[in-house]
Amino acid sequence: MTIDMTQFYQVFFDEADEHLADMESLLLELDVDQPDLEMLNAIFRAAHSIKGGAGTFGFTDMARVTHVLETLLDRLRKQELQPVTEMVDAFLEAGDVLKAQLQAHREGEEYQDERIDRVCTWLERLTHGEQPAGTAPSASPTAAPAHSDQTQTAEPTWKISFDPLASEFKPDVHLDALAESLGELGTLQRYSEATGRPVVWYLSGPGVCLNNIQEIFDFICDLDGVQIAPMDDAEKSASPAADHEDEAFGFFDEAPGTPQDAEDPGYGFFADSPAAPVSIPPENNGQPSDSGYGFFENAPGAEASQDTESDGYGLFGNSPGMEQVASQAAHDREENAQGYGLFDPSPGYPSSTKSGDDSPSGSTEAPTKGGDSGGAPPNKENAAKSQTPKRGPGGDSSIRVSVEKVDQLINLVGELVITHAMLAESATHLDPVAHEKIFSGLSNLERNSRDLQQSVMSIRMMPISFVFNRFPRVVRDTAANLQKKVTLRLVGEDTELDKGLIERLADPLNHLVRNSIDHGIESPEKRRAAGKSETGEIVLRASHQGGNIVIEVNDDGAGLNREKLLAKATERGVPMSDNPSDKEVFQLIFAAGFSTADKVTDISGRGVGMDVVRRNIEQMNGRIEIDSAPGQGTRITIRLPLTLAILDGMAVRLGDETFILPLTAIRESIQPKREQFKTVSGKGRVLNTSGEYLPLVVLQDIFELGQVGQSLEDSIVVIVDTNEGRMALVVDELMAQQQVVIKSLETNYRKVRGVSGATILGDGRVALILDVDELVQLNQEMQPKRTGTSEQGNLA
C-alpha cells in the first residue's frame, strides 16, 4: 500500500506554524528566574510535536533542529538545567530557523543557511551545560561558533552518502556487502535507501577513520561520487538514523518461544520489511540490540518476559495487551482450525499478514501470567465485542476556503442588498394595504439579506490576535536592541475585524510599536531619574466601538515634546496658527518627513514612517489620532471600520447629487445662524461653533459643482473629524443613515481626490463616498484661490 504523504503536508505546515507561534509566545512569557514547569512542558511539547511530524513527513532538516531543541528543553523541564536568558535567545533563534525551513518546504524547497548549523551547535552547547548559568557569555546568535569542536564526541560518526545508481556497482547486489564490510568497522546506520535517491549511511565507532572507509569503498566501487564527512554532534544526534534508539525495534512476546520465534531471532517478517533503517550488527550476530533489549532468544521455554524489538517498534513482554495479541492470533487459529482447516488463513485476511499471524499463533499454549486471568477465551469474547462498528471521528470542524471565494460571496450579497433597496424604493409608490404581501415579502427579504450579509462578512472576520501575537517578539527584540526595558500588555486580542484589514494593519502597528519603544520609552536610567519604574510598558488594546474597531498603542514614556515639534515645524516652514492646540501640534508627526528623533537609529527616525503609517490607515478608511502628556506617555488611537466592504454612512444631498459621509467621521450636525460664518484672513471661511473656529468646507466649490446648493443660512453644517482637526461641511440636507456597499472607483476609473469610493443607492444611482481628510486638504489648497474672489458674494 503506497500512501502519498504529500496530502498531509498542508496540515503539518499549519500545525507546525501554530506550534512555532505557541512556542514563541510561551518563550516570551517565560520568566527564566522562576520558570513555570508547565510552561516548559508546553514549550517542549511544541518542539516535540514539530519533530514528530517533521520526521514522519520527511522534513529531516526540521527534524534535526527540533531534535536539538527538544533535547535541551527536555533537560530544562526535567530540571536538570536551570534556564538562562541565553537559552531563550537560542530557542527563539531556533524558532526563526524552523519558520524559515517551514516556509521553504511550503514552497517545495529546502532552506539552506549557515544559521541552521549555528543554532544547532548553540543549542547543543547549552544542552551540555558547559557554562554555569551565571557566567554564560551573552552569546548572540552570530557570536555562537559555527562549528564547535568541543562537541565532538569520543566516538566519531561519519556521514557517508553516495548514489548507488551512479556508482559502478549494481545496487541491491552489493549494497548489503558494502554495509557488511562497513559494519565491521563500527555501527552502521542505514538510512534513506529509497530507490532513485542517494544513499545516506552513518557509521560510528571508536577509531573509525576516513582511511578505513575509503579503503572499503575503493575495494567495491569507484570512490568518485562517494561523500564521506565527519559529523558534528548536533548533526549526528539530529539525524534520525544516527539515533540508535530510534531505529531499534523490539517485540516482546510473553508466549513461550514458538517454533518460528525460536528459529528466527530477528522476527524475520519484520526484518525483511522494506523500511529504511536497519541496524546491522544485531542482525548479523544476534547480539543484544543497542537499546539493551535483546532480540528473541532461541532458548525454548523463553516464556519469561522478553521484549520483542523490531524495526522501529517493539512490544513489551508481560504487558496486558500482549495477551490479546497472542490470543487474537490463537483465536484466529482456533477458528481456522474449526472452520477452514489448520493452516489456511481465514478468508478476508490480508495475505501480507500471513507471516504476522503465524508467529503469535504459536503461542496458543501461552500460560496466563500471574495476576492476570485473561486467556484465550475471554479474549475471544473481547474480540467479538469489539466488532461493534465505531463511528469515525467528528473530523475537523472547519474547512479551508480561498479568500477569493469568500469575497465573491460578499460581492454577491452586496448586490442582493442593493437589489432589495431598489425593490423597496419601487414599492414606495404602491398602496401598502392593497399590496400587503409585497411589503411583508420585502421586509422579510430585507431581514434575510441583512442576516446573510452579516454571516458572510463574519467569514472574513479574524481576531486581532493574529497581528498582536507578533508583538511580544517585536518588543523584546527592539527593546534589547536599544537597551531598554519594556514589557508589553495586550488587551482585547479577541476583537474581530476583517481579514483584509488585519493583513494591512501589521505594518503600521509594527512601526508604531517600534516607534514607541525608540522614541517613547526612555532609557532605564532616565526613567529612574524621572521617578518611574525602569521598565516601561507598552499596551496594545483593541476594542469595538460602534461599527468601528479601535486600536490603541499606549506607552508610558516621555510623551511628545510640544516645543520641539513646533520648532521643527518652523524650521520646515510648516504653517501653524499662532496658538495651535496640542492636537494640531501632535498631528505634525504624521506629516511627511517629520521626525523628531535627535539621532537616526535602526529602529526609526529615518524620516519615513509616521506619514506612511497615516496613509496606510487612511487607505483602510481609518483614522489615526495622537494624544500625549509630557512625562506620562503617548497614546496613538487608530479607528477602523470593521470591514472594507461595508460602510455605515449618512447620505447627504447637495443640489441633485447625493453623497455618502462615513458615519465615523460625523460628530454633529447643526443648523447654523448667519453670524456664525466668519472670514478669517489666512484661514478663509470659518464657522464659529461654541467659541471654536472650524474651517468651512463648501462642497460645491471644491467639487466645482457650480451654484447648485442653497444659501449658507439654509444649509446644514455637518461637523466632521478629520486628521487635521474638525471641520464644518456644508450640505443641503441630511437624507438617511444607511449601510452602503463600498465599490472602488479605481476598478474602471481612477482615484478621485476627496472621494474614497462609490456606492449604489436604492434607486440604482451611484453615490460617491466622501473622504473628509482629503476634503480638508483640498479646501486648504483652494484657500489662496478663493480669498479675494467671489467668496464674499456667496456669503451674503
Binding site: E415, N748, Y749, R750, V752, A758, R765, V766, L768
Partner: protein, 167 residues
Amino acid sequence: MSEDLKERAVITSDDSREYLTFTLGDEEYGIDILNVQEIRGYDAVTKIANSPDYIKGVINMRGVIVPIIDMRLKFHLGQVEYNQFTVVIILNISGRVIGMVVDGVSDVVALKGEQIRPAPEFGAVLDTAYIDGLATLDERMVIVVDIEKLMTSGDMGLVDRIQNESS
C-alpha cells in the same frame, strides 16, 4: 477562454476582423468588436468632481461602477443634447469597463488586414497615434481606431498613471 475562442474564430475567417462602426460628427470610426461589451442607451450619470468635462460621470451597470466618456466633448465636436437615440458603447479594455457616448452606431463590418491602409497625417479629430488606418466601405471612409491604446492613454485621464501618484 471564450475570448480566445472568439478571437480565433474571427481570425480564421480568412484573416478578417469584425469592427463596430459608429459616427462622431461627420466621421465614421471603427473599433474592434472584441472590445465591445454591449451597447446601451444613455442613463443619468453621477458627476465626478474635478474631472475633465468629457468625463460625464459614472453609472451603475449591474453593480459595476462604469465611467462614461463623451467622445464628442473629448474631441471638441460641440455639445449635443442627449436624447433617447444617444448611444453608449460599453467597452471592455483589458478588463476595465468604460462607457463611450457616441452619436450613433452604424454597422458591424468585417475588414481584412489589407483593406486597412495606413493613415496619412490628416486633420482627423483623433491623434494619428491612436489610428490603425483607414478603410473604405462602399463610398464611406472608416477610421479604424486602436481603442485600447486610446482609452489607456494618459490623454484620456481614465487610468491613474504611476508617476502621477505622488499627489
